[in-house]
């Protein structure tokens, strides 16, 4: 019988209350210059960078950043901890593969996007328990997803087209006749996706959606009281996050590894992505890139140090273990000293860093 309060056309009550017009204070967007330069640099990079750097460093760096971005939307912004990121990457990879093989008429980017959508649907499914299970316990759903999906993609040969080795690889990488099977081509493919999806993420994070997500993270009872449909936004976060992870997975399999199997998306990778967002900064867009850069470059750095300081006499296994100790130690250090990650440290150092507006 009573109507729900209809949105007033122009908040006349409030205006009368204040009886003066609102001061116009909008955020000045100062980032155009430096950011455009960065993007331009990224686009022009293949002309100067050598092939090794493109395919072994930059491509994985970009894809890991994208994965971090996906996880960050769910864990850093919405506060839903997930340790199953790699599982959703696998969905994207295998779904894209299925489309490439069985519906070859679809152009490559479309297959990748659809792969992402399928990953989003699976992510949504595994997000259903989040209405009932809160906080720390929610981890068990992402663990279930991780191990279940790994099992599915190794157990059922349909997914890898009955190949004997259980691996999937892209039949051919091309868009509109352009062959992308070169380091520059793969880099370009990945870059386009990463730039586009980062732009979308920035939009989301600055909008109602982003705010609602953060409200849920900070205090979900208050979010409901304020009128935010908490469960719906949680599901949305799972879906969007998995969309990003799915695309990252497809790119990882086809633009980086070349061929992949379920093992390429094991729980170690999920932890790696979690580390990216812890180190880079949870609740930040730029942080994902910083964290991914760190994770991509640290092994390289250690290798070089090992080669130079010990004239190549350092065991590769030992280096890996040292790396582990450093990572672990850093995680602990960051959690103690700077829970907002490297991004906060960087922005404290350089206040006017061009990436500032990407950090909320």
């Amino acid at each position: 019988m009573s109507q729900l309060l209809a949105p007033p056309a122009d908040f006349t009550g409030l205006s009368a209350l204040l009886n003066h017009p609102a001061p116009i204070v909008l955020h000045q967007r100062r980032w155009h210059g430096p950011l455009v330069a960065l993007v331009l640099a990224a686009v022009l990079l293949p002309t100067v960078a050598n092939e090794y750097w493109l395919s072994a460093i930059l491509v994985p760096f970009l894809i890991l950043s994208l994965s971090g971005l996906g996880l960050n939307l769910l864990t850093g912004y919405t506060g839903q901890t997930s340790v199953g990121s790699a599982g959703f990457m696998a969905v994207g990879a295998f779904a894209t593969y299925a489309l490439l093989v069985r519906v070859p008429v679809l152009p490559l980017p479309v297959s990748i996007l659809l792969g992402g959508l399928i990953a989003a649907a699976v992510g949504l499914l595994f997000g259903v328990p989040s209405g009932r299970i809160k906080g720390f316990y929610l981890m068990v759903t992402s663990l279930a997803a991780q191990f279940f999906l790994e099992w599915v993609f190794s157990k059922f040969p349909w997914f890898y087209n009955y190949g004997s080795s259980g691996t999937i690889s892209a039949p051919h990488l091309e868009v509109a006749g352009f062959n992308l099977n070169t380091p520059a081509g793969k880099y370009g493919l990945v870059l386009v996706f990463v730039l586009a999806l980062t732009w979308v993420a920035v939009n989301l994070v600055r909008s109602q959606t982003g705010r609602n997500w953060m409200a849920i993270r900070d205090m979900d009872t208050a979010a409901a009281v304020v009128g935010i449909p908490v469960y719906r936004y949680k599901l949305l976060a799972f879906a969007v996050s998995s969309f990003y992870l799915g695309i990252a997975g497809a790119l990882w399999a086809f633009a980086y590894l070349g061929s992949a199997s379920a093992q390429s998306f094991g729980i170690t990778r999920s932890f790696q992505i979690l580390f990216i967002i812890i180190i880079g900064g949870m609740g930040s867009i730029a942080g994902n890139f910083v964290g991914a850069a760190f994770i991509s470059l640290l092994p390289l750095l250690l290798d070089t140090l090992g080669q130079n300081l010990f004239a190549g006499h350092v065991d590769a296994g030992l280096l890996q273990n040292i790396q582990k100790v450093i990572f672990g130690g850093l995680i602990i250090w960051f959690l103690i000293k700077e829970p907002d990650g490297l991004v906060r440290i960087l922005s404290s150092i350089k206040e006017r860093l061009a990436l500032w507006p990407l950090r909320l």
């Binding site: 009573s2 939009n203 959606t209 009128g227």
Partner: protein, 260 residues
């Protein structure tokens, strides 16, 4: 429902609530008229906050009903309460600690958003227009509550009293029909209390918002409210105008030893 037919916006009918055997609210009934400011007073632990929690759905009553705007409910989900125009502040400042003052207040408008997910994701003009509108209204509220200096500060870093103002802003930006305030002046000095009282009185007068507030400061209660309900151990021991209640022997007995 027309106002003439039902002058009461809110009616609490025989509500009871207990926690693990402890009765927080016992068979409580009272009515709140539209546009009035009603204060809920009583010693600590009398069940006032619990009642507010029942009113906007954070707790579910064990027995009894709520009548809101002519409809009867045995329970109202928080989301539903928000949609029906019930705004709320909490004793412990249920703010989004990591978000700025501005962002916190804007979340009060989230239920008014009509822009879809895709429009936001692709920064379509409709999304940007709504964001600008919301931003403008938020600035108005920030101006009204004198919060300009802290607009971009993460709320967790603000003093308690300022946080309370932000929470009020968040509750009022969507122009609620009913405002439930849990100790909106706790931790404030005399000047701040006057300011806060003025804010509340203005909101009530200009927006017509019905207010139910929990308050300990008798001076504020007497000057601000038209209607006072007294609780003690979860039961109602007084209900009437401020002067009625002040002279009620039961109320005086309940307050013995807790004079402010």
């Amino acid at each position: 429902m027309s106002e003439a037919a039902n002058p009461y916006l809110l009616e609490v009918e025989s509500v009871s609530l207990s926690f693990q055997g402890v009765k927080a609210i016992s068979d409580l009934s009272f009515k709140v008229r539209r546009h009035e400011i009603c204060s809920l007073i009583g010693p600590n632990g009398a069940g006032k906050s619990s009642l507010l929690n029942v009113l906007n759905g954070v707790y579910r009553a064990d027995a009894g009903w709520l009548h809101y705007d002519g409809e009867r409910f045995d329970h109202l989900e928080p989301l539903e309460a928000a949609r029906r125009g019930i705004g709320r502040t909490f004793q412990n400042n249920a703010l989004f600690k990591k978000m700025t003052v501005l962002d916190n207040i804007v979340t009060g408008l989230s239920k008014r958003s009509t822009v879809g997910f895709l429009a936001q994701a692709l920064a379509l003009p409709a999304a940007r227009a709504e964001a600008a509108r919301f931003r403008e209204r938020t600035e108005q509220v920030i101006d009204f509550l004198d919060l300009q200096a802290w607009r971009d500060v993460p709320v967790g870093q603000l003093a308690y009293g300022l946080q309370k103002r932000v929470e009020l802003g968040r509750a009022l930006i969507a122009e609620p029909q009913l405002l439930l305030l849990d100790e909106p002046m706790a931790g404030m000095n005399a000047d701040e209390k006057v300011e806060m009282s003025t804010f509340i009185a203005d909101i009530n007068r200009e927006l017509g918002t019905t207010v139910v507030l929990i308050e300990h400061d008798m001076g504020v209660v007497m000057s601000l409210s038209a209607h006072v309900v007294v609780l003690d151990y979860g039961r109602k021991v007084g209900d009437g105008s401020p002067s009625d209640v002040k002279n009620n022997p039961e109320v005086i007995a309940a307050y013995l030893g807790t004079v402010h």
